[in-house]
């Protein structure tokens, strides 16, 4: 099931971002999207753990560049959400392959997918709704929010790295 969803989300990512670029007539953007798409496909088989993350970075760069080129923001946002889903499913498939488990409990896959979609849907909807809101915060407020986010993120990164050190 997760493998099928991987292919669907990959095709969706490529189509959404590619279409956004095509609608603006930027053919190069569409063609360059093949690179991260191929990276995601290859990373299912190769042992390099950095490959899926690099693929996601390329998708994000193309999305960010697309916003700078004034592409349709909703399509770009949807493409980014689908890219995150693809990235997560690739990592899940790789983990299953490493373990070489013959029988995967169906409940594990089901819970993973439910969790993924329960996070991805609001992760798309809330920014999509926010895009409709025409509110211009002050620069100070923006700086404050961004600083707060940056601080929280740095704590989270420290926690993640601490967890990875313990496991290694």
């Amino acid at each position: 099931m997760s493998k099928i969803l991987f292919w669907i989300s990959l095709i969706l990512t490529s189509c959404l971002l590619g279409s956004a670029y095509l609608l603006k007539g930027i053919w190069l953007g569409t063609i360059l999207l093949l690179i991260p798409a191929m990276m995601m496909i290859i990373s299912l088989r190769v042992p390099w753990s950095w490959m899926p993350s690099l693929g996601l970075i390329f998708f994000m760069i193309s999305a960010a560049a697309g916003l700078l080129f004034d592409l349709m923001p909703v399509m770009v946002l949807a493409g980014v959400t689908a890219a995150i889903i693809t990235w997560d499913l690739v990592r899940f498939q790789r983990r299953l392959r490493e373990i070489e488990q013959d029988f995967l409990p169906p409940i594990l896959e089901k819970r993973h997918l439910i969790r993924l979609f329960s996070i991805s849907v609001p992760g798309f909807l809330i920014p999509a709704i926010a895009l409709q809101v025409k509110y211009q915060p002050s620069f100070g407020l923006i700086i404050g929010i961004v600083l707060l986010l940056a601080l929280s993120l740095s704590r989270v990164m420290r926690l993640i790295l601490k967890g990875k050190d313990q496991s290694s």
Partner: protein, 421 residues
């Protein structure tokens, strides 16, 4: 990536770029929210048997219970399986583990001889997005000893000078119950009529004579396994020492089956011994000692001259399993002079080495000449050993040991030989 988007969004004052970071923030937030807490797992392990023969599988069953909160994803890895080949099942399991749930899994393993001790089970719990981890090592000590394979051999005929006081297969040169004719003696009241030797009796008018038969008894057998590193050869086919171990196991089984009292000495890195004993229990002890036997180098035990003969009863049978080298002749001479009957079972190192080369390589003079030289040297050494009364079994390891023993010993009759130095 989130930082980069926030930075670019700030620099370009583009709110859409800031919004682009939100799906990633949600993903990260999901990981934080559902990150695993401290693990409270309990596990037990059952191994089908503590002792298993080589090439026979052992099954391992693990039961893990969660006494803490539910875990999104839990990876269990049984480190016990690490040195083995897993035949069925999987020692690694990924599952979703609810609170108060119990999980069982089973797998079978097979491995090389040795004693294996396990630390425990590694448990790594993560959230569904694999961003946060909690780890716990569940300490469940377990032990598995894989015994060497003991080939079945036909009874091996030995004839030491001294025997023990129990019935067995070895003629003891004293009269008693047996089947081999020993001599005649004067008739005593109570002797069975069927044992009277009428032919001799007719030659004597006044007396009757009775047949005497040779009593058959068991003997003391000392097995000596040579574990000196300098004699061990390794090739693509394995290690010559492994053949020596299997030969020792087979001989121990054969001698114990005949009822003899068998002891073992492993001579190499140190002196590992199994004191003399009888029967299946002794066989188990010997196999366990052979399971952990390893080659080693010890300057003090470089040659067989330092064999501790006090371990073995005087005039008993010694069976040495060794590829031997030229310097060992002196040790055998000394042992023969003490009155020991010696049998040498020698895996052929030259043949073992030669088989690791292709037929084309063997034609090459840089390989064929040294091999011929080694073979000549070995043939000479074995001949010298036969001359001093050692019964030699020259064993090319690609042939069954049983055939090698019986074809070699049939040409070397039992009985005392005059030492001819």
């Amino acid at each position: 990536m989130i930082y980069a988007l926030l930075l670019i969004g700030l620099v370009t004052i583009n709110g859409k770029l800031l919004l682009l970071a939100l799906p990633l923030v949600f993903y990260l937030g999901g990981g934080i929210l559902y990150s695993p807490g401290v693990l409270q797992l309990k596990a037990t392990r059952q191994v089908s048997s503590d002792l298993v023969f080589q090439k026979k599988p052992a099954s391992v069953r693990l039961t893990v219970s969660n006494q803490g909160e539910g875990l999104d994803e839990l990876l269990l890895e049984d480190t016990f399986a690490a040195p083995f080949t897993v035949n069925n099942g999987n020692p690694r399991q990924l599952l979703s583990f609810m609170a108060d749930e119990q999980f069982n899994f089973e797998y079978t393993v097979q491995g090389e001889r040795g004693r294996y001790i396990s630390a425990g089970v590694q448990a790594i719990a993560t959230d569904h997005f694999n961003l946060f981890q909690e780890q716990q090592i569940l300490s469940i000590p377990a032990k598995l000893t894989i015994l060497p394979e003991a080939w079945r051999l036909r009874p091996v005929a030995i004839r030491p000078s001294n025997t023990r006081g129990f019935a067995g297969p070895i003629p003891a040169r004293i009269s008693g119950t047996g089947v081999d004719f020993l001599g005649v003696r004067e008739y005593k009241l109570g002797d069975p009529m069927r044992k009277i030797n009428w032919r001799v009796s007719t030659r004597h008018q006044q007396n009757l004579f009775t047949n005497e038969f040779e009593q058959e008894r068991i003997a003391d057998v000392g097995l000596i396994l040579d574990a000196r590193q300098q004699l061990n050869l390794r090739s693509s086919e394995g290690s010559l020492f492994e053949y020596s171990v299997m030969a020792t196991a087979a001989l121990a089984d054969a001698f114990l089956n005949d009822g003899h009292r068998v002891a073992l000495l492993v001579y190499g890195f140190g002196l590992d011994r199994v004191y003399p004993g009888y029967g299946k229990v002794q066989l188990r002890r010997i196999l366990q000692a052979l399971a952990v036997a390893r080659v080693g180098f010890n300057y003090a035990l470089e040659s067989l001259n330092y064999l501790p003969t006090r371990l073995f009863p005087a005039h008993s049978q010694l069976v040495v399993v060794s590829p031997i080298q030229v310097g060992d002749l002196e040790a055998f001479v000394r042992l023969r002079s003490f009155g020991y009957e010696i049998m040498l079972v020698s895996p052929d190192p030259a043949d073992f080495e030669a088989r690791s080369y292709t037929p084309k390589d063997r034609m090459n003079s840089t390989i064929s000449f040294p091999l011929r030289f080694v073979r000549i040297e070995r043939t000479l050494l074995l001949h010298q050993l036969r001359r001093i009364g050692v019964r030699v079994v020259d064993w090319p390891v690609d042939q069954p040991l049983d055939n090698a023993i019986h074809s070699s010993l049939i040409k070397q009759p039992l009985g005392r030989r005059i030492m001819n130095l």
